[in-house]
């Protein structure tokens, strides 16, 4: 099903191309531009995550999908770091306000909350084996954080007036929400099960 990949490429590619055509870019320094696009890419990666773990992407069934989910998670952390560092250098006082939840902009706390949730998931995922987290415990931690990440990212993005074109931005956000809800329903993440999707994993 090549169609799914084409649709995904459009879902992420169209907002990026549309933002690349924004007249706002003319008034921004290179670092600010990179920081902004890192944010758009991060939102695109948030769309890929539930698609991978739900096994909806052809060529990435079960195990491979989960491996890719881990890698994309790491890439997401990198994109967020570029986003925050780039904005910090562009305007340190504005970034400090955002990180300390004292910003006048309504979208900042959503983004910062999602950022900490992403960092928490990435850190726990990296330490999961060492901490001996059982799949059920992991899911119990990861699912609420995943909801915070998705809801926070979408709210953050929608409230920003920047380079993103409004309709492609709203469409990407809607897809992120839809993919997350579908994956969570299909995987019945609220059910108590030992393993995800029934495939066997070595007991921790």
């Amino acid at each position: 099903m090549i169609l799914i990949w084409v649709a995904l490429a459009f879902a992420i590619g169209v907002p990026i191309v549309a933002a690349a055509g924004s007249e706002q870019l003319a008034w921004r320094g290179p670092l600010y531009v990179v920081a902004g696009f890192a944010g758009i890419v991060a939102l695109g990666l948030v769309l890929v995550q539930p698609l991978l773990i739900g096994g909806y992407l052809p060529g990435f069934p079960a195990y491979r999908g989960r491996r890719a989910h881990h890698w994309i998670g790491g890439t997401l952390v990198a994109a967020i770091v570029i986003h925050v560092v780039g904005l910090w250098i562009t305007s340190p006082p504005d970034m400090i306000d955002a990180l300390t939840f004292s910003s006048p902009t309504p979208f900042s706390p959503f983004g910062v909350t999602a950022m900490w949730a992403i960092f928490a998931v990435a850190l726990l995922a990296a330490l999961r084996r060492r901490l001996g987290l059982r799949p059920r415990t992991w899911r119990f931690i990861h699912m609420p954080l995943a909801i915070v990440i998705v809801a926070g990212s979408v709210a953050h993005c929608l409230l920003i007036e920047g380079t993103m074109e409004t309709i492609s931005k709203a469409a990407l956000c809607a897809l992120v929400l839809a993919a997350t809800v579908k994956a969570m329903i299909d995987l019945q993440v609220w059910r108590k099960r030992r393993t995800l999707r029934g495939e066997s994993t070595a007991p921790q």
Binding site: S91, D94, T105, E161, G162
Partner: protein
């Protein structure tokens, strides 16, 4: 038939409004009597450069920043007060010197300064204004434009003695 419900909250509210109406009749100019000072806005002081020069226009202009400066309490217009203005515009980023300028209020306490078009920065099209001249308490404002397409923005100061 209309039911009039009398309870404590209603009576307090009614009594309060009667009292307020009566007081305003006695004290003239009444409404200005209690004019509260403007609080600094969060993020208002971001990228402030102290002592921006008083200019006729910032850069090439095309955008108008205007407003008023009044005294807390009686609301009297404050003449000759220096208001500093800066923003991320088509001619420079917020922290850059060319993005900053100052102007003085006229005899009616009004000010108006032409500057380059403000563009969205950090997700909101906004400007910055400061009163920071010592005679009154320092106030930093950060008004947001309803749309990035607007070509003017207003901000109003009510100052209290330092």
């Amino acid at each position: 038939m209309t039911m009039v419900v009398l309870n404590r909250r209603y009576l307090l509210a009614a009594g309060g409004s009667v009292l307020a109406a009566g007081m305003s009749g006695l004290l003239l100019p009444a409404r200005a009597e209690g004019l509260a000072p403007t609080e600094s806005m969060s993020g208002g002081a971001n990228n402030y450069r102290k002592g921006a020069p008083t200019v006729d226009r910032i850069g090439k202009g095309g955008f108008w920043m205007s407003g008023s400066v009044r005294r807390a309490g009686d609301g009297a217009p404050l003449v000759g007060q220096r208001i500093q203005i800066w923003a991320h515009t088509t001619e420079g980023q917020e922290h850059e010197p060319q993005s900053h300028g100052a102007t003085l209020t006229d005899k009616d306490g009004k000010f108006r300064l032409e500057m380059p078009q403000i563009i969205p920065i950090f997700g909101q099209p906004h400007g910055h204004l400061a009163y920071d001249s010592g005679e009154f308490k320092t106030v930093f404002l950060r008004p947001v434009m309803r749309s990035a397409k607007e070509t003017s923005l207003e901000a109003h100061f009510v100052l209290q003695p330092a």
